[in-house]
């Protein structure tokens, strides 16, 4: 093995361990306080219950059902993931983190934390959503893949937007406004894929929507990794 390859390998390993350190720290703090998880779950479940009562428990239109799921996911996500960087700025720990850590592992660690947070929310909310609205899923694999990709996309966009919002004076409240135009392609793709998975009609279009979500996630993650250093350092 050449010295250059060995160097690259060591660098990647060190980069990976730094990213895991950020993720572990955030998970440890969240397990101790459960602040982000509680607000996320409370928001999602309350919205779900409120809609369920207003519709008297039944939902026959898959178009509306799909849109409601992603509206709930979007607003819940913005409630929870906004804390990723805003909290670091508000508590003054951002200075210590900037002094010690490379920007890319910080971003990836925060992204993985947000993805885990949203995934755990989806694990609870999706079964509730199906039961409360009395819905059945025609394409189960496609539905699960859509939820997975949609949640990852929301976590990626939410993480970089949280870093931008943390630098402004209004912080958290800015995030939802900032994020809507950026998350819109994801919401359109995820809503369309969910509608197809619920109704089972036109199953061939599922692949296009899934490809759209993969492309969106890849683009947002790549752009965020490139831009994060400039957002993080003033």
């Amino acid at each position: 093995m050449s010295l250059r390859k060995l160097n690259l390998g060591t660098k990647a390993l060190s980069w990976y361990s730094k990213c895991v350190a950020v993720l572990q720290k955030d998970l440890r703090l969240e397990f101790r306080t459960r602040y982000a998880y509680s607000s996320l779950i409370m928001f999602a479940v309350t919205t779900l219950v409120a809609i369920s009562f207003s519709l008297a428990g039944g939902m026959t239109d898959t178009d509306i059902a799909a849109a409601l799921l992603w509206i709930i996911f979007f607003f819940s996500a913005m409630t929870g993931v906004s804390r990723a960087f805003v909290l670091e700025e508000e508590t003054g720990t951002a200075i210590a983190l900037k002094m010690a850590a490379d920007p890319a592992p910080v971003f990836l660690g925060k992204f993985l934390f947000n993805a885990a947070l949203l995934m755990s929310m989806a694990f609870l909310v999706v079964p509730l959503y199906l039961v409360m609205f009395n819905l059945s899923v025609a394409i189960v694999g496609g539905f699960l893949l859509t939820v997975l990709l949609g949640v990852v996309g929301l976590a990626a966009a939410g993480t970089i937007l949280s870093a931008i919002a943390a630098q402004s004076a209004v912080k958290g409240s800015l995030l939802t406004v900032l994020s809507l135009p950026i998350v819109l392609p994801l919401l359109i793709g995820a809503t369309s894929a969910t509608r197809t998975a619920l109704s089972g009609s036109n199953p061939d279009s599922m692949a296009i929507y899934i490809a759209m979500l993969i492309f969106y996630n890849g683009s947002v993650l790549a752009a965020s990794l490139l831009l994060f250093e400039y957002v993080w350092h003033e």
Binding site: S14, S17, K18, A21, I95, A96, M99, A100, P105, H233
Partner: protein, 213 residues
């Protein structure tokens, strides 16, 4: 205003034409300084004169409006990524994670720097800063003086070549102030210290003095 010169010194901090402005108001401008190795630079000035901002520019936390600061070690310019290993900062604005214990804080900052963690070294450092029996306690339960001591442990873990201290003895009692004196003197032997203060007891450590107005 600045005294001292050290042309040709292998390890040094070079400040050239440095200025910082906020909304068209200059905090300071056209600063030219060379801080040689094994020395202490004391930055003085009234509130709002830009002492902390100058330290943050040195650390790469804030961008300069004009000019630059170069850190040269072994005749090579230190990059932003290398600064994370070569600089240690203690500042009232820098906070540690209150939901983590003292040892967990040390472990985290060690891990994000890509350094191996040693419980033995953590115990040694905590004992050195006077927190020997408080390693497992949450930082949120610490007094402000204890938090300040832990900041020194975090800043010294990676044995930085340059120690940047903003109001170094704030929140510390007499014993704490003696600890800071010991840290500054040891760091001067090992590298450089840049401190921002208006306390006469701290200014006396400065081999050079920079007064911002």
């Amino acid at each position: 205003m600045c005294g001292g010169r050290s042309d040709g010194v292998a390890n040094r901090i070079e400040v050239q034409g440095l200025g910082k402005a906020y909304n068209d108001r200059w905090l300071f401008r056209d600063l030219d300084i060379i801080i040689p190795d094994n020395s202490v630079m004391a930055v003085q000035g009234p509130n709002g004169s830009g002492k902390t901002t100058l330290l943050y520019i040195l650390c790469g936390l804030v961008a300069a409006s004009s000019g630059y600061i170069n850190i040269v070690l072994e005749d090579r310019e230190v990059t932003q990524a290398q600064k994370r290993m070569q600089l240690g900062l203690v500042s009232p604005e820098l906070r540690l994670y209150e939901g983590l214990s003292a040892v967990e804080n040390l472990e985290f900052f060690c891990a994000v720097r890509g350094l191996p963690f040693s419980l033995l070294r953590a115990r040694e450092l905590l004992e050195f800063v006077g927190l020997a029996k408080r390693g497992r306690d949450f930082v949120g339960n610490f007094s402000s003086g204890m938090k300040q001591r832990l900041k020194y442990a975090c800043a010294l873990w990676h044995r930085p070549h340059i120690l940047v201290l903003d109001e170094p003895t704030s929140h510390l009692d007499e014993k704490g102030a003696q600890l800071v004196e010991q840290i500054i003197l040891e760091q001067r032997r090992r590298g450089m210290v840049v401190l921002a203060t208006n306390e006469p007891a701290e200014v006396k450590f400065g081999d050079q003095s920079l007064v911002l107005v």
